[in-house]
């Protein structure tokens, strides 16, 4: 059984060696002229303003949290969809109850302003 993984092992090896060769070759043949501008932080071609280690706006986290919850709940939708053909009618109704409860949650988040960008 372990032999079946050998292919994947070879794949990993190639994937690791390829960039090493590419970067290594470039490093060998390139001209070496370091300057301060080259070491600067890249920010869309503009000069960076202020420190780059700033704190992210907390709004991102709220979005992420709301997304996370709805994202994970689809774990239950997937097996349901795969088995949809053979499930009795009740399972169909049940899933709508589940989605209904989720919708109440979304409504709540909306109404409380979690989806507004402030």
């Amino acid at each position: 059984m372990l032999q079946q993984y050998a292919g994947i092992g070879v794949f990993f090896l190639v994937a690791a060696i390829f960039p090493i060769i590419a970067i290594g070759a470039a490093w060998l043949v390139r001209p070496k002229k370091p300057s301060r501008v080259k070491l600067d932080t890249y920010e869309c071609g503009l000069e960076t303003q202020g420190p780059t280690w700033v704190q992210f706006k907390v709004g991102y986290f709220l979005y992420a949290l709301v997304f996370l919850i709805f994202d994970i709940e689809t774990v239950f939708l997937y097996p349901w969809a795969v088995q949809f053909q053979v499930l009795p009618l009740f399972a169909f109704v049940e899933m709508f109850i589940f989605i209904g409860i989720l919708a109440v949650g979304l409504w709540y988040a909306w109404k409380e302003g979690a989806l507004e960008w402030k």
């Binding site: 053979v86 499930l87 009795p88 009740f90 409860i101 109440v104 409504w107 709540y108 109404k111």
Partner: protein, 481 residues
């Protein structure tokens, strides 16, 4: 698919609870924020109605989904205990929430969902169901714990609760996964059968250790109690009352189901652990309670101690033991919630939880002082109050099994507990109130709840027969499949 037993009538209580929680949440969205007092009343009325309905199912014994969910007198009695606590706590929350709260609908809705989680725990006939119930309860309670957003202590209690709660859940889950692996099933009745057939393996024992540690955390038994005083102190007081009574009862319900029904063949192994926990809990909690200066911390340690007495019922592993646990939990609802309601009423008026500020409470509000005194004496086990009867049953249960020394330690530590309860009594009754101290107003709803609790504390002590009969009959049905 069709051979699954799915009689949804059995789930009426749970379905009603889930509906109530959602309706309360939606109501909060529809009703303007400044008119949300009605939501609180609506929740209480809904909970009372569900409690009354649950009485019709008192002696129903049935399985749902082939044993994954059990409706039996044991779980129904526990559900009634949770509902009672939720009702009393919701009544106790009115004034508090109006003064310090915001978003009332969310508060009451979370409380209903936490209660639902406890119900699922008590009824769980399957490890997965048990875990879902446990997490529903823990996560709801976490949000409730940090409900006072502007109060840093509340937030701190919340973060401690979620971190420690999640960690203990993970530890317990590891135990559950090992038990599942070694028995090839997650249904509690089948686990017992599989162990009887296959015998005990080292991995199963490892799983048991993790499991007991997880449960010990949920019921806050020493040495897994460190979280309790901090979180009790930081949480809004009504939530503390809920945590101290209902979540502990739920922990015991699930623990008894798993240890006594799923793992009876491991009795010799878990018995050693539980006896150790009991001794540590009873001794340490009562000693550490003595120097406390904050009433909520004092009640927290006294609650930890009560968990120790309840563990005696599990050590006994008999019908009498289970019955005694049920009876003690039932009485504990009234005694402990009453004590916390006094703390709430006092805090609403003065904004303080320090014991020294209770000086002369007997003059400022005779009712509050009397309720606090009697509920504390009852928890200490002074006759003719309720605590005496329930402790008598618990001690008898362990003495029957030959643990005389364990009962002796517990009696000794009960006497120690009288000491720190009496310190509070002394402050309330002998101390002179400060000159500028005003009488404390108690709202009529809270007064009714307090008097009800007081009556129940006396009723349980003076005429316990109907309640002990109920508890013992329920315990009789617990072991029969």
């Amino acid at each position: 698919m069709n051979q699954l037993q799915m009689d949804f009538n059995l789930l009426t209580v749970e379905i009603l609870m889930a509906t109530l929680g959602l309706v309360v949440l939606v109501l909060g969205l529809l009703i303007p924020k400044n008119q949300s007092r009605g939501i609180a009343y609506f929740t209480t009325i809904g909970l009372v109605a569900i409690l009354l309905y649950s009485v019709t199912m008192q002696w129903t014994k049935a399985e749902f989904l082939n044993g994954m969910y059990l409706i039996d007198p044991f779980s129904t009695l526990f559900k009634q205990i949770f509902l009672l606590t939720a009702i009393l706590v919701s009544v106790g929350s009115y004034q508090f929430m109006e003064k310090y709260g915001h978003n009332q609908a969310e508060y009451y809705s979370l409380m209903v969902f936490a209660t639902l989680g406890m119900m699922v725990m008590a009824s769980a006939g399957d490890l997965i169901t048990l875990y879902i119930g446990l997490e529903l309860m823990t996560i709801s309670l976490c949000v409730l714990t940090c409900f006072r957003l502007r109060d840093a202590k509340s937030s701190e209690a919340g973060i401690k609760y979620i971190i420690l709660g999640a960690m203990s859940s993970a530890i317990m889950l590891y135990g559950l996964s090992l038990v599942y692996g070694m028995t090839r099933t997650t249904v509690i009745a089948e686990i017992a059968a599989a162990i009887a057939l296959d015998g005990v393996s080292p991995l199963l024992l490892l799983g048991l250790v993790f499991l007991v540690a997880g449960f010990a955390f949920k019921i806050s038994a020493v040495p897994f109690h460190i979280w309790a005083p901090d979180i009790y102190e930081g949480a809004p007081t009504p939530v503390t009352a809920f945590l101290a009574v209902a979540s502990k009862a739920a922990g015991f319900a699930a623990m008894m189901r798993v240890l006594l029904i799923a793992l009876p063949d491991l009795f010799v192994h878990w018995n050693v652990m539980i006896v150790g926990l009991t001794v540590l809990t009873v001794v340490l909690a009562n000693l550490v309670a003595i120097p406390q200066t904050n009433i909520k911390r004092l009640l927290a340690f006294s609650g930890v101690g009560q968990a120790g007495y309840l563990l005696l019922g599990i050590v006994a592993f008999t019908q009498l033991g289970v019955g005694a646990v049920l009876f003690h939990t039932l009485f504990y609802v009234f005694a402990n919630v009453a004590a916390f309601m006094v703390v709430i009423a006092f805090y609403n008026e003065t904004g303080s939880d320090e014991i020294r500020d209770y000086t002369g409470l007997a003059v400022r509000s005779p009712l509050l002082a009397a309720v606090l005194l009697f509920s504390m004496l009852s928890m200490a086990g002074i006759p003719p109050l309720a605590g005496f009867v329930s402790k008598f049953y618990l001690f008898t249960a362990v003495i029957d099994q030959g643990y005389v020394w364990l009962a002796l330690i517990s009696v000794l530590m009960s006497m120690v507990s009288v000491y720190y309860y009496l310190i509070v009594a002394k402050v309330m009754y002998i101390g002179k109130p400060a000159d500028d101290a005003k009488p404390i107003k108690v709202s009529s709803g809270l007064q009714i709840a307090l008097i009800l609790c007081l009556v129940m504390i006396f009723a349980f002590g003076i005429y316990p027969a109907p309640f002990t009969d109920l508890a013992m009959n329920v315990a009789n049905t617990f072991f029969t499949p």
